[in-house]
Symmetry: C2
Subunit: 577 residues, 2 copies
């Protein structure tokens, strides 16, 4: 018989509402209400005689955000991953995927059918875009309403457990993307129960989460318990925390620090390493600095600067935030210092941004050539290869996969998938539905788009269009791109010196005019020709053996020189001994 609890500190009466009856709840400490040993049935709560709302801590919303919650006993699932010991972040190669579009099925079980592909590719972890229950059946997941409930359309709690279990059996870790900085605009009933939100701060997505106002201890615990639930009950290996820059918290112990400390305390007893990765737009090393140095102690953070430096360089795009990037010097800075903006004036932001990282392991930073945001936040959701072409996509892959940071791929990137990744939603409220459609059009009209060319987020077609087409992987040019990714990943895994190193240890030189760049990592050199013509480049003694070449064209090499095709990269090492 389950125990039902809910936090409603301002209510005078709370009832547990089951299918066929109401049960008065008893008032406990600090605003909690309880019923012990009530029947297991779909349920909700009624405050002060008002309407019935689903449970903010619901583990399962089998019929969506507006319907009743269903109790779930985590012990019902039998795990098979006892042998799994995890892979540390320092050796990780992450693969971001969206459950709904990764396979035709769009479910957790669908993902399971593709795990062999991922094992062959060589990645270490999959990272699932948010799997929490959100409004409708299609969506990116960042508009989560029930953060404890795996999305019903993906297969619910049991489906997620099957997926994690299957990954672990195949030697893959699982990272879950969690959103703690706001609630989605539809189905967010939490605010009806308690002060989860505050109007003292704003986020781009509405009211901020109440992390430092009255009753915030319990709000913080709501998120921290959630993080630990994914790690303990769902065996997740790590969490990616969405938009940590949107946490407004003036507490002496910042929410992120408390989260990291409590997860670390839990993880000390865990059978495998667990880690937290923040998405941060702050360029503030405090996010990943250790506690004893005044940091928040996250294990890693995304470094958008690296992405932007690569993207602007390879595509020539300079709109929006790409205005701050585009030179070889920027990319060199990213290699050397992680942050390109580390106290430098940003034209796009119209202010000085960031501070130097200092001495820190490279695995504190996750870098990518593409991710859901960078692809999906474009009007038409084009991938890098769609913009820059296959040669430069190969070059970009090498830039990420030979970097001293943790590399991350985005679903389908490895075979230059033809499908775009567009912004899709399936809000049920007509006003919201119209709002998101018009908002998207207006956003891109500002960049000169014809509103009719902007895909409608609410349309089923937009979602379908974003699904990967797996059949194309065996055809050219996809098959050879896949081969290139496999080679790069295998090389990174084989050569320790290509993995994560301390920030500041990578040697980079370049010629902005001639458009070549060389990265030295131990005995390996990675030499890029970014010019639109062949050029002859100097190679160093000791690094003359061709290990990998991105181009199918011939490379002319003699003594101390190599003639590289346009838009290509060669990886050179010492003669084999």
């Amino acid at each position: 018989m389950p125990h039902y609890s809910v936090w409603a500190p301002d209510a005078h009466k709370v009832e547990l509402v089951l299918d066929d009856r109401k049960i008065a709840m008893s008032s406990g400490e600090r605003g909690w209400w309880h019923v012990h040993d009530a029947p297991a049935a779909d349920y909700g709560f009624s405050l002060d005689g008002g309407p019935t709302w689903p449970d903010p801590r619901s583990n399962w919303q089998p019929n969506g955000v507006h319907a009743m919650s269903r109790p779930m006993d985590h012990c019902q699932y039998t795990w098979h991953d006892q042998q799994w010991q995890g892979t540390p972040l320092s050796q990780a190669i992450i693969y971001e995927l969206h459950v709904g579009t990764f396979t035709p099925e769009g479910t957790f079980d669908g993902v399971i059918t593709k795990l062999d592909h991922l094992v062959d590719l060589g990645i270490s972890h999959i990272e699932l875009m948010p799997v929490n229950e959100f409004s409708g059946r299609r969506g990116w997941g960042y508009d989560g309403a029930f953060i404890y409930a795996p999305h019903s359309a993906y297969g619910g709690p049991a489906g997620l457990k099957r997926l994690v279990d299957a990954c672990h059996i195949k030697g893959l870790g699982v990272i879950l993307d969690v959103v703690y900085n706001h609630f989605g605009p539809e189905g967010g009933y939490a605010g009806k129960f308690a002060p989860y939100l505050t109007d003292r701060y704003r986020t781009p997505w509405g009211e901020a989460v109440n992390l430092d106002g009255p009753d915030s201890d319990t709000v913080r615990k709501f998120f921290i318990d959630n993080a630990i639930m994914w790690l303990s009950e769902y065996h997740a290996d790590g969490l990616r925390i969405d938009a940590v820059h949107a946490f407004m918290d003036t507490s002496a112990v910042h929410f992120l620090e408390q989260l990291a400390a409590e997860v670390a305390k839990w993880a000390r007893r865990a059978p495998r390493p667990c880690f937290l990765i923040g998405e941060s737009d702050l360029n503030d090393p405090r996010v990943v600095r250790r506690w004893e140095e005044g940091g928040f102690g996250l294990d890693a953070q995304w470094s958008d600067d690296f992405h932007h430096a690569v993207h602007a360089l390879l595509t020539g795009e300079r709109t929006g935030y790409y205005a701050d990037f585009g030179t070889l010097a920027d990319l060199a800075k990213a290699y050397r210092s992680a942050f390109v903006y580390d106290g430098r004036f940003s034209v796009h932001r119209r202010r000085t941004h960031g501070r130097p990282v200092g001495n820190m392991p490279g695995y504190r930073f996750v870098v990518c050539l593409q991710n859901h945001d960078q692809v999906g936040n474009r009007a038409a959701g084009e991938r890098l290869g769609h913009i820059a072409g296959p040669d430069l996509a190969r070059v970009g892959a090498a830039m990420v996969l030979t970097s001293p940071f943790v590399p991350m791929l985005f679903q389908g990137e490895e075979w230059a998938a033809s499908a775009p990744f567009q912004y899709f939603t399936s809000f049920q409220d007509p006003g919201l539905s119209a709002g998101v459609r018009e908002g998207r059009r207006a956003e891109f009209a500002a960049f000169g788009w014809d509103p009719n060319d902007v895909p409608d987020p609410q349309s089923e077609e937009t979602f379908q269009r974003s699904k990967l087409k797996w059949l194309e992987t065996v055809d050219e040019p996809h098959a050879s791109m896949l081969q290139w990714y496999r080679q790069l990943i295998a090389l990174r895994r084989r050569c320790g010196e290509l993995g994560c190193s301390q920030v500041g240890e990578v040697e980079v030189d370049f010629d902005e005019q001639a458009r070549w760049l060389r990265v030295r990592r131990g005995k390996i050199a990675i030499l890029y020709n970014l010019a639109d013509h062949r050029q002859t480049l100097h190679i160093e003694p000791g690094r003359t053996r061709e290990i990998l070449l991105s181009s199918k064209q011939d490379v002319q090499s003699r003594e101390r020189y190599v003639e590289l095709p346009a838009s290509s990269v060669i990886i050179l090492g010492p003669r084999e001994t």
Copy 2:
């Protein structure tokens, strides 16, 4: 011939407006506009052909906030304080005063006439409530409109220089209270020129200052230049920075850190020590932690917890934030740890508050028995002695002046002044005037006050009532209170062990039931009887000699015991050798 400049990044045309003409300004870098060598005359600026507004960086508003600015040449003043070497914070005893009510004149020159009193008292620094130009002639100063301009009704720039000069000659330092977290509601023309404010955050006083949005570099510089101006051009010894908890700044380098670093850089070439003291409600040691430990590096901060612990104990008040205080244990915690709330749940805040200070010098914390806020934010502006009576006021003075932190007094405290310190304003706008009056009434109606008993802030009488009555200092009971303060201060200055020590070094024991508390500081013991009756207390060998006693009643002492009168304190030391 002065050079005129103004920052107006969004203007297309800016004119310098003098009495009798307009001069087109030339556009410089990053939104600055300049005119070189124009006539010295009262001036303002007109943006894009609009109305004329005074200069946000005006050094002098001789006719108030709505009138023209007047250029000022800082070199005109001849300083006489070349011998002044300053007093470090570790040896400071601060005296907070409000220029308008400290003397009948209500001016900087008026303060000069009372410096001998302060020298006799034994304090080291005066701290002036904000002297920036605010709307009207009467006000606390926190509604500043021109932060570079010493208030015209106090005597303007020349008056302030005369006062600082006179202080230095008499061996007193000067701390200025500066308000960088908001602008006053009247006369704040800065926002007309540039994005000084942001609507992304809120403060209790309206829009927050733009410290991390577009163009915030120049906003930050506006405040930092101001801080350095007070130190360099006005020879201030330190600044007290109002409400640092209201700075909303997600930058990787927090505004406070940048401010402290730039002031420190300037101070390296200064002829005397300069320091920054923050008013912080965060209980976050980061505010005063050193940069290398991830701190902001302010020299000190106010510690309200100490005040609240003392006040609640002595008055028995438990309303508002005093609900969190009142036990001897709280005061003992304040002595030992600086923060009472250092990760403890606060009933008043309904959340966990603060974090431990750790190892830090005591002079990082400024403590007081009374200050402008604690007195003036009461409906009737009553001082501690008005509430708790003279015996407990004497006890409170000892608690502050023998503490391991930097003690601060509030004007008139030293003679138990009869004048209250009430909240007064003199806004000129009728709507604002009515708003502040009604707001004040509503605020205290919530605490059960009859609105008619709440003094009208806009009334001249409220201001006059708050003026100190100097003639009373020679009469009882004022004269003996003054004597008590002089003795305590002299003792603190004479005995090094009564000064600032490391946090955690003070030994305190107490009996909550019997209401006695003993503080040990080196060879000195301070023994408090807080009961309402005489009681016999144990004294230790080695600390048996009476150094000071707050009560005029007899003390019975024999061997290892002393019988202390109700509500009294005795300071004991070793036998003289």
